[in-house]
Amino acid sequence: MPEIKVLYFAAASTTAGLQEEHIPLPSEEPFPLSSLATLLSSRHPSRGLDKVLATSQWSVDAEMVDEPEKVFLAGGEEVAVICPVSGG
């Protein structure tokens, strides 16, 4: 199965208990980014990751995604959970 790399930062990282992981996509079909939150939450149940993901954005291959419903993952991508930022 094609695989993606998922990066977790800040609250996403402390909630999931890890900084990155490789995840096999469910099938050879392009996987909708809009379904990734459900997939990640199911891998880390009972940790409250779903709540963090609900307030986060995605980046794919180090570019912010404006319209997740239009993005499909083929495998090989680096996807990051971008929590509300707090630099400065």
Binding site: L7, Y8, F9, A10, A11, S13, T14, Q19, E20, T55, S59, A62, E63, M64, A80, I82, C83, P84, V85, S86, G87, G88
Partner: protein, 174 residues
Amino acid sequence: MSTVSWPNASTEAKEEITEGVAVLTYEELDTEKIMASVADDRAGATAVFIGTTRNSFEGKVVTRLDYQAYSKLAINTILNIIRTAHKQHSRSQHHAEGQIASSLIKCAVHHRLGTVPVGKPSIVIAVSSPHRKESFQACEFILEEVKMKAQIWKREFYEGEREDEAKWKANVTT
């Protein structure tokens, strides 16, 4: 004290463009050096913003702050902010031929990663321009944009509270 491990993707980074420089570093920020990096004989003004870590939050004593970034994305975000600042200050400017179009000269944005003790700078922004107004405006614009957009996060640790319960902050609450 537990050993702190920073995310692999939260690396030191530095990227330079003609309009300025963006730096993410685990080293202490050297304000003098950053100011010097935007020095230019055409400049009549250098505006500098130094953001330092505060010792309190809602009555609690802050002991330290930890910063991390998705560095390759954050650097690009900061460079785009610098480019935008330059473009904003080149509008409706009429210069003689051969002169630069932007009324900003150089912007330097340095942001800390890792543990920053209370009272130390976490961000330093320096902007040089021929006249004061543009450098003040651009410096503030860059700061606000970086706080809103750059993929950088801070976690605040409080006196007498468990480290694993330290809060990740958010500049804009959703």
